[in-house]
């Protein structure tokens, strides 16, 4: 056990810190779920990419800098420390990107990854359908082969970033006689094709964070299929693993929130009382525990280990921690009088609304607890 950074890791941190301090926009950008915000976030991603910081663990040829997972954690720590913008293309860089690395052809990698890293192409995910939410295998939308194309019909919903994205990935039933997990194909669809209708869905905060996407005889080139025809479930399971996994939910985000919560509590300590202070301390401990567990996991991965169902532990832990931190912040603010008197209040309320989605998306926490019980603990189905 060696809990000190190497000289190289410290040098990497310094470099990231210097670049970010020089380049991060001062003040927050508008939400990327607005037209203006989407434009500004794409601008930021372009700058990040130009600096070589868009996706540090990716190979250089795809827009990365070939960093290892420890450097990725370090980069994320610096990114949140600098207060840099949220990643508009997270569906691409954190979910689809690693999936293409694993399942894509050489051509697909070259075609998609660099423009993903630069956010020239922003991705929406098309996981859910009206009757396929937690039950992901109940997919009805079809993609039927017609020579060099698939003819896509049906509907996806809760497509996050759907309103302002360029592309969508998702599973479609390519064998019309198949059921459940079989006969599905994983297909990448440009959202500007004829026959596609995108209906943005406003979220709790009023902004169109997701969309319904309707497909009416949409012709998609067959080379946009990722993995074998009919093997879409396996590809999607890998993507879902990335969704719950390490890259998307590195600890820095939660440590940053915990830090803001502690600052808020410090500022109002006399109003707050010991019971709330205790809960704040527990949240900070939770964020630390999450960081430590991640470093432990990365240590294992770099030594050749794998993570599988353990990502379900992560997903439940961070989503409930994140929600708890925002609840506490609102409670503390509630002790300080009306919201307008505190500039942070609106930000915490927005964050709370976002945090409420944590236990739902990427597989509800009920599903994750089933996975923990059945696959990790080995309890009977």
């Amino acid at each position: 056990m060696e809990l000190r950074y190497t000289d190289e890791q410290r040098a990497f941190r310094r470099e990231a810190r210097e670049w970010l301090e020089a380049n991060v926009p001062s003040g927050p950008l508008p939400s990327f779920d607005t037209a203006e915000g989407a434009r500004l976030h794409r601008e930021w991603e372009a700058k990040l990419n130009a600096g070589g910081w868009a996706m540090v663990p990716w190979p250089v040829e795809f827009g990365g800098r070939g960093a290892d997972l420890f450097e990725w954690l370090i980069f994320e720590e610096e990114y949140y420390r600098a207060g840099a913008p949220k990643r508009i293309n997270q569906n691409g860089i954190f979910l689809l990107g690693p999936t293409i690395m694993e399942f894509g052809t050489k051509q697909q990698k070259a075609r998609f990854l660099p423009k993903m890293a630069s956010s020239e192409e922003v991705w929406a995910q098309g996981w859910s359908e009206p009757n396929a939410g937690s039950d992901m295998a109940n997919i009805q939308a079809t993609a039927l082969r017609d020579g060099g194309h698939y003819i896509v019909n049906g509907q996806k919903t809760w497509a996050s970033r759907g309103a302002f994205a360029d592309w969508l990935f998702g599973m479609f039933r390519s064998d019309p006689d198949s059921e459940r997990h079989r006969g599905l194909s994983f297909i990448l669809v440009p959202l500007n094709l004829p026959g596609i209708t995108v209906r943005p869905i406003p979220q709790l905060d009023g902004l169109p964070g997701f969309a319904e996407v309707f497909f009416d005889d949409v012709r998609v080139p067959a080379e946009n299929r990722l993995g074998e025809e009919g093997a879409g479930w396996r590809v999607a399971m890998a993507t879902a693993g990335f969704e719950r996994g390490l890259m998307l939910r590195s600890p820095a985000r939660f440590q940053h929130t915990a830090q803001r919560l502690v600052s808020l509590c410090r500022a109002h300590r006399e109003l707050v009382g010991e019971a709330l202070q205790d809960e704040v301390a527990r949240c900070w401990i939770g964020a630390e525990a999450y960081a430590l567990e991640t470093y432990r996991t990365v240590s294992k991965l770099l030594a050749g280990g794998k993570i599988g169902s353990e990502s379900s532990l992560n997903k439940v832990f961070w989503s409930e921690l994140d929600l708890r931190m925002h609840e506490l912040a609102l409670q503390i603010l509630g002790e300080c009088g009306p919201a307008s008197e505190n500039a942070a209040a609106a930000e915490w309320l927005d964050g709370y609304l976002f945090a409420l989605s944590g236990p739902i998306y990427a597989g509800t926490n009920e599903i994750q607890r089933n996975i923990i019980a059945e696959r990790i603990l080995g309890m009977p189905r």
């Binding site: 056990m1 060696e2 809990l3 000190r4 950074y5 190497t6 890791q9 410290r10 941190r13 310094r14 994320e76 610096e78 949140y80 420390r81 600890p251 820095a252 440590q255 940053h256 915990a258 830090q259 502690v262 509590c265 410090r266 300590r269 202070q277 205790d278 704040v280 301390a281 527990r282 900070w284 401990i285 939770g286 630390e288 525990a289 999450y290 960081a291 430590l292 567990e293 470093y295 432990r296 990365v298 240590s299 294992k300 030594a303 353990e310 532990l313 439940v316 832990f317 009920e366 994750q368 607890r369 089933n370 923990i372 019980a373 990790i376 603990l377 080995g378 309890m379 009977p380 189905r381």
Partner: protein
């Protein structure tokens, strides 16, 4: 940066686990409860043989010369097996004796390592002394935090009831004139501070093992016990209870490992005390939570004296109250945290000055 346990520590841990699984079944613990066997006997000698009693003791005194990171692994096994031997006291005492040095260290360290002596350690903040019953030497607080070494025969021990009959607690008094202090003032306080941290760490590490054992027993029982025509473990309510135990366990474990590492390298880690308190708090809460869920998963059978479940339930309760309660350790995190005593946020977890 590498957060994995060293290969040789894992091997040692596995051998202790195998040894205890073979040599310390619950029947032996029950014999101890019934007064049909004593602690510090053949099992203790066998543990000494394995090097366990002297793991923190330097090789020149007959020990293995390991550090607290390795010791935490070993103590996990003590928890898993509900070991009733005075292992935690050996972990607490050895570095204190080494620090005190001189003839005392020369005399007692080799005896601990050889399993021939037990040294129990008290603390000014807590009235109970563990393992005083089978100790030969007691290191005790006197007036003004002074530290005294008192032979067991010269001390009066009043046994205290314990929710766990495997852990022997006593209130100890002695004549401080007859046993002048070995350390006083700031030095004594520093020694007691270190004792507290080690004591809390022994509880945290054992609690991890206790929690794992309770979880494993619960998974096994609910997989086998059938009601309504299927294993009760197939009901979502029980699945989610045990999934929650697993969550608490898995996020407590790295806190304990980091705490051990910080304490082992205390000079580099000014937040060592905070690390220990975080670990003690969450590990003991995980074990207590596991105890509660395990009982509910077992139903009435778990409520009987004859079933072994309560052995670990009692250990969980008792560890939570030893070397500082949840409230005590939470306040030791809360106060410096909210007082701004150290930097927090992304990039601070392992920072000890080098990146600022």
């Amino acid at each position: 940066m590498d957060f994995r346990s060293a290969e040789e520590h894992l091997l040692l841990q596995q051998s202790l686990r195998d040894f205890l699984a073979g040599e310390f079944p619950p029947a032996k613990l029950r014999a101890l409860w019934a007064g049909e066997a004593q602690r510090g006997g053949a099992l203790w000698a066998a543990l000494a043989e394995l090097g366990v009693c002297g793991m923190l003791i330097a090789e020149e005194h007959g020990g293995l010369g390991l550090d607290l990171v390795a010791a935490a692994n070993m103590l996990e096994e003590a928890g898993r097996a509900a070991l009733a031997e005075p292992l935690a006291s050996a972990i607490v005492a050895a570095p204190l004796l080494a620090e005190l040095g001189g003839a005392l260290a020369e005399e007692w360290l080799p005896q601990i390592a050889a399993g021939r002596a037990v040294v129990a350690v008290g603390h000014p903040l807590f009235a109970a002394v563990e393992d005083a019953d089978c100790a030969q030497l007691l290191l005790l607080p006197g007036a003004q935090f002074a530290l005294h070494a008192v032979p067991r025969a010269a001390a009066q021990c009043e046994s205290l009831p314990s929710s766990d009959p495997s852990r022997f607690l006593a209130k100890v008094s002695f004549d401080s004139d007859a046993h002048p202090p070995l350390a006083e003032g700031a030095r004594a306080r520093a020694l007691w501070d270190a004792v507290l941290l080690r004591g809390a760490l022994t509880c945290a590490a054992q609690a991890i093992g206790v929690c794992e054992q309770l979880l494993q027993m619960s998974v096994a029982y609910t997989s086998e016990r059938r009601q309504f025509g299927k294993p009760v473990g197939s009901f979502q309510a029980l699945k989610h209870k045990l999934a929650d135990v697993k969550l608490k366990l898995e996020y407590a474990r790295p806190l304990v490992q980091r705490a051990a590492h910080s304490l082992a390298q205390q000079a580099e880690h000014p937040q060592c005390g905070v690390h220990i308190s975080m670990a003690k708090l969450l590990a003991c809460e995980a074990a207590e939570f596991a105890a509660r869920q395990a009982l509910q998963c077992h139903g009435a059978i778990g409520y009987t004296w004859e079933q072994d479940l309560h052995i670990w339930m009692r250990r969980a309760w008792s560890l939570a109250q030893s070397w500082g309660s949840a409230r005590f350790h939470l306040s030791r995190v809360r106060e410096p945290l909210l007082g701004g005593a150290f930097p927090i946020g992304p990039a601070t977890t392992f920072a000890t000055g080098e990146t600022t």
